[in-house]
């Protein structure tokens, strides 16, 4: 193993010791909370670079982060185009349609015990269908463009959000419902003023899960037929062309997009469910 490998190992040992020391002594401070994960991340990257260069691993198997960064920098236009196609058109459209439909169906289920007993098991079944099975069928039905990807996302996202929303609508206790009754609130007023706000923590739980599923659904669906752009398309064709740095660049974009999407949901959740115990600051 060449000097890069040894240097990386040494760096790893030093920063791990440093991290542990900081976490133990100053763990409560804000700056420590930021520094420790950043240091850990940097150490991982340095270790990756050092090990791959030091052990002479072929870039066709695993490229070093420096090569990936270079490829990322020279392909930003391509990556943006893929991001727009997959995330903005496919994943987002499917997410909005799927979650919207799930919320409406949850309200319907809440109203009708028949639907509750009939729809939830069917929804359970549909959710269990493997995406690699339904994706080619949806591509055949909805065409090669982003519409079929949105359809796959709808199927993936619908059931988790539905289950969470149904649980949320049932989350008010007898005391709260009685209070509404003493105000002689109609079903509609009770729904809008009490039950929906009370359901929000549950709904956002489902929405946060759905962000990950939407990303997975949109990317995997593209493996089964797509126009010549999109993250799934780029990953599968770059693998065929042995362009590993581009594959990793796309993975990095997907990770950033996923984290960003999740983070956005967390921020919206903070604003909407400010009253919930979990949101109270220390």
């Amino acid at each position: 193993m060449s000097w890069q490998g040894w240097a990386a190992l040494a760096f790893w040992i030093v920063t791990s010791a440093l991290n542990v020391a900081i976490a133990n002594r100053w763990g409560g401070h804000r700056w420590a909370k930021l520094l420790v994960p950043v240091l850990f991340g940097i150490t991982l990257l340095v270790l990756w670079q050092g090990m791959v260069t030091g052990l002479g691993v072929s870039p066709v198997i695993l490229p070093p982060p420096s090569m990936i960064a270079a490829r990322f920098a020279e392909s930003t236009a391509l990556l943006w185009g893929d991001f727009a196609q997959t995330i903005l058109k496919g994943a987002l459209a499917g997410y909005v349609i799927g979650c919207g439909a799930a919320v409406l169906v949850a309200i319907a289920v809440d109203r009708s015990p028949f639907l509750q007993r009939g729809l939830l098991p069917v929804g359970n079944f549909v959710a269990a269908l493997p995406i690699v099975g339904i994706a080619p069928i949806l591509v055949m039905w909805f065409g090669f463009d982003w519409q079929s990807k949105a359809a796959v996302v709808v199927v993936m996202v619908f059931f988790p959000v539905l289950v969470n929303m149904v649980a949320g609508l049932a989350a008010t206790d007898a005391l709260q419902r009685d209070l509404m009754q003493t105000y002689s609130a109609t079903y509609r007023q009770s729904l809008l003023k009490m039950r929906l706000p009370a359901a929000m923590p549950f709904l956002f739980n489902g929405l946060k899960i759905a962000t990950t599923l939407a990303l997975i659904g949109a990317i995997v669906a593209e493996f089964f037929g797509s126009p010549t752009r999109g993250m799934g398309f780029r990953i599968s064709t770059a693998v065929g062309q042995l362009d590993m740095p581009l594959v990793w660049s796309e993975i990095a974009v997907a990770a950033l997009a996923g984290s960003g999407f999740f983070g956005m949901m967390v921020l919206i959740e903070k604003a909407v469910t400010f009253w919930h115990p979990s949101q109270r600051a220390k």
């Binding site: 072929s58 042995l242 362009d243």
Partner: protein, 326 residues
């Protein structure tokens, strides 16, 4: 003591006896008559005669032969020359040691109702193309014709075709990529009459590149024992191919017996073997340098986006076939 000596002698004889050398072959696609030569060689004992124990690993949609070679998962792989040369340029030193397929079976099949009569009518249409290493001949052809593939009005819109013929049947594309031995017949089997199709063969358009060839990693060729093993492998494989050419129905049966997925049908495989025989005819396994030069020229002619940027060096060796076919 006597018993011990006899026992030790027997053991020594067994150990010193011929233990077959292992060869791992990675196919480019699933088990089908496209690889009949290797299955015939295994079933008919040609490999065994040479002292080889060959493990034939089928490929598939998620298996990239070049990646398997990069990971050391196989000793030798079946791949198309454009893909192997592009991989070589990316740093994966593949070397061609044999070329069983003399002719190309790649075609572009269009529906007659789209009004396409010749390549000049492609402009503004949607064409289905496989990727995963099979897009290179198409990209070279479009570059040679000067047609951009960016979806502009003066160019063509490219669709990533899955490994089926649905885009043509669903009319999502005007034309799709087909092989003479596989997808074309899937279209016919789906009910479209040959008169309703317009087909362009890459051979006729002058943009045919070499297809199924045997490739190994360059550094392994430095080992004389490995080279000797490959000589035996190529000799037995070519014997298998010539037998398959002469006995296509029997070869198709052998392929069906070896198909673990059970997805292949007798009719399809017998038809495929008949078409494959047309492609292997005329090749004794040795790569013809003129064919190689022609393929390289087509790949370099990609205009602004060539498949390879410079002529490869050391991408093939004739040593193995020279020794095998002596």
């Amino acid at each position: 003591m006597k018993k011990f000596l006899i026992g030790a002698a027997a053991l020594a004889l067994m150990a010193g006896g011929v233990s077959a050398e292992e060869v791992k072959l990675q196919l480019k696609w699933v088990t089908q008559a496209q690889f009949a030569g290797y299955y015939v060689a295994k079933d008919k004992g040609f490999y065994k005669e040479e002292g080889l124990d060959v493990d034939i690993m089928p490929g598939g949609p998620d298996i990239s032969p070049t990646q398997v070679m990069a990971g050391g998962g196989a000793d030798v792989t079946v791949d198309w020359m454009p893909s192997a040369l592009a991989a070589r340029e990316k740093g994966l030193a593949l070397v061609n040691i044999a070329q069983p397929f003399k002719h190309s079976g790649m075609m572009l099949t269009c529906l007659k109702e789209t009004g396409i009569k010749g390549p000049e009518d492609f402009k503004g249409k949607t064409l289905g193309v496989w990727f995963g290493g099979n897009e290179y001949p198409f990209l070279s052809w479009m570059a040679t014709l000067g047609i951009p593939t960016d979806g502009s009005a003066e160019g063509v819109k490219v669709l990533k075709q899955g490994f089926n013929v649905d885009p043509l049947l669903q009319k999502q594309a005007a034309c799709i990529s087909t092989m003479t031995y596989n997808e074309y017949w899937q279209v016919i089997d789906a009910g479209i009459a040959p008169e309703d199709l317009v087909t362009f063969k890459y051979e006729d358009e002058g943009v045919a590149t070499l297809e199924d060839g045997l490739y190994v990693m360059e550094d392994k060729l430095k080992d004389p024992a490995f080279k000797e093993k490959m000589v035996k492998f190529v000799r037995a494989s070519m014997k298998g191919w010539k037998y398959a050419e002469a006995n296509p129905d029997e070869a198709a049966e052998i392929v069906l017996e070896n198909d673990e997925s059970g997805a292949q049908t007798e009719k399809h495989q017998k038809r495929m073997m008949g078409e494959i025989a047309k492609l292997t005819m005329g090749s004794n396994g040795a790569l013809d340098p003129a064919d190689y030069e022609r393929t390289v020229k087509i790949l370099l002619a990609g205009g602004s986006d060539p498949v390879i940027s410079k002529a490869p060096e050391g991408a093939y060796t004739l040593e193995i076939t020279d020794a095998a076919l002596k």
